[in-house]
Symmetry: C2
Subunit: 230 residues, 2 copies
DNA sequence: CATTCCTTCCGTACGACGTACGGATAACCG
DNA sequence: CGGTTATCCGTACGTCGTACGGAAGGAATG
């Protein structure tokens, strides 16, 4: 520690002027843990264990488990890319951008539920919202109509992604998922006299989710187009 | 107990051939408790206490806390009235019906979050879904377009209601809520250079939620109208 | 009437949870 | 060198979901 020895640098730890933990490290570990264990599986103890830290150390950087969920939410939202939509026609730009949102929500199945139950005020969430607002404003919307259109688009994407996750198992197992959906479909068919239209159209066997996502998105985009004309 | 006495009936308890507990009684108590305490406040112990029962007695009627959340969800959905929309023009019918949905989701603030995180297969949920399917089919939609339109409407209503609840306090306190929204609005304004369009339009001070709900709903309905024409 | 069985009720106990509190350690500042 | 401050975290408390097994009493059977 005091005598200078040749090559000693290679055996010493990095000065470690930074503390071992940080919000960023905690957030990264939280996202990873949420991906594997889901929201109920994220506990302060498990998270701390992943970081080789004592449980209570987390509270130096965060004041509650809720804070961690907020941080993880914004970190996951940050994974939604934002480049390459600015020049596009507004419909193509929004389709592309919201498709990216959905992709991230599939990568992090816990995300839609958290997004819809807390105010999204993190920097990355605000940036993603700004992008949609800006695209629609450039398309010609403004005022309360603009806000309404952003809402319709946002809630559709979140709702669709949440529905998808509803039919997914914790450890993504396509066979088990297909089985569950077949069971639900049979259940619906058995009661088809109570709800014939639903039974005929609720297409639980459908596996082209990309396409049906786009179909619903087109409904909302058509609505926006109508507002632009009206 | 054996000798028949005149008027003894008035002093005896009702035969109580029914057990004290039942799914229905449990479900009703669960809804009431959820309204007061929220999803995290519903515990098996508290619920049992409300019913003057032992905690483990609940498990005779239900196999887990999750089951209770499913039952409570369907029971709350049952509060959405369904009469008096059949003769109406399709836009009026859907506006009225979905307005009722939103009203129930405000009465039970925990409802939208539960609806978007579990498959809705309860009898009342299916009946409400059937109604929307039927109205849109009568309007002229069918096949995947019909399914897509139902999704766009449903997710919009759920998303809007969830957003509203996000800004509400546990014990509905208008003053505290307004204060929270003002704080959030100031926070947005301070960062307005990062997201000018959002800051200008995110109308957190707005208190005519009925109107802005309808504006967004009109976007989706316009989209459906466009699909009917196209 | 006696016996068996089944439904309903629930006390106890276990492991996991969020977090309040206060102590340890060590880097920094004077 | 002494004191201050940032970081780390062990312990403990109250709460949670629920597994297990037993009690109580009516119904079914002899």
């Amino acid at each position: 520690m005091s005598v200078a020895r040749p090559s000693a640098i290679w055996f010493a730890d990095e000065p470690e002027r930074k503390p071992r933990l940080s919000r960023e490290r905690i957030t990264r570990a939280a996202v990873a843990l949420l991906d594997v264990e889901g929201v109920n599986g994220l506990s302060m103890r498990r998270l701390a264990a992943r970081l080789d830290a004592g449980t209570m150390s987390l509270y130096e950087y965060v004041s509650s488990r809720e804070d961690i969920l907020d941080l993880a939410t914004d970190a996951a939202i940050a994974e939604i890319e934002t480049d390459g939509v600015d020049g596009l026609p507004w419909r193509a730009a929004l389709s592309r951008q919201l498709g990216r949102s959905r992709r991230v929500m599939r990568r992090h199945p816990w995300l839609p539920a958290l997004m819809s139950t807390r105010p999204l005020l993190g920097p990355h969430a605000l940036a993603r919202a700004e992008l949609v607002y800006a695209l629609l404003q450039q398309a010609g919307l403004d005022g309360p109509r603009l806000t309404a259109a952003v809402g319709a688009l946002t809630y559709y994407v979140q709702g669709y992604a949440a529905m998808e996750n509803t039919w997914r198992s914790r450890r993504h197992d396509p066979a088990a998922e297909a089985q569950l959906r077949r069971r639900a479909q049979r259940y619906l068919d058995r009661r088809a006299d109570q709800h014939p239209t639903l039974a005929r159209h609720a297409d639980l066997g459908n596996d082209d989710m990309d396409h049906s996502f786009q179909l619903g998105l087109d409904v909302v985009l058509d609505g926006i187009e109508a507002q632009l004309r009206g």
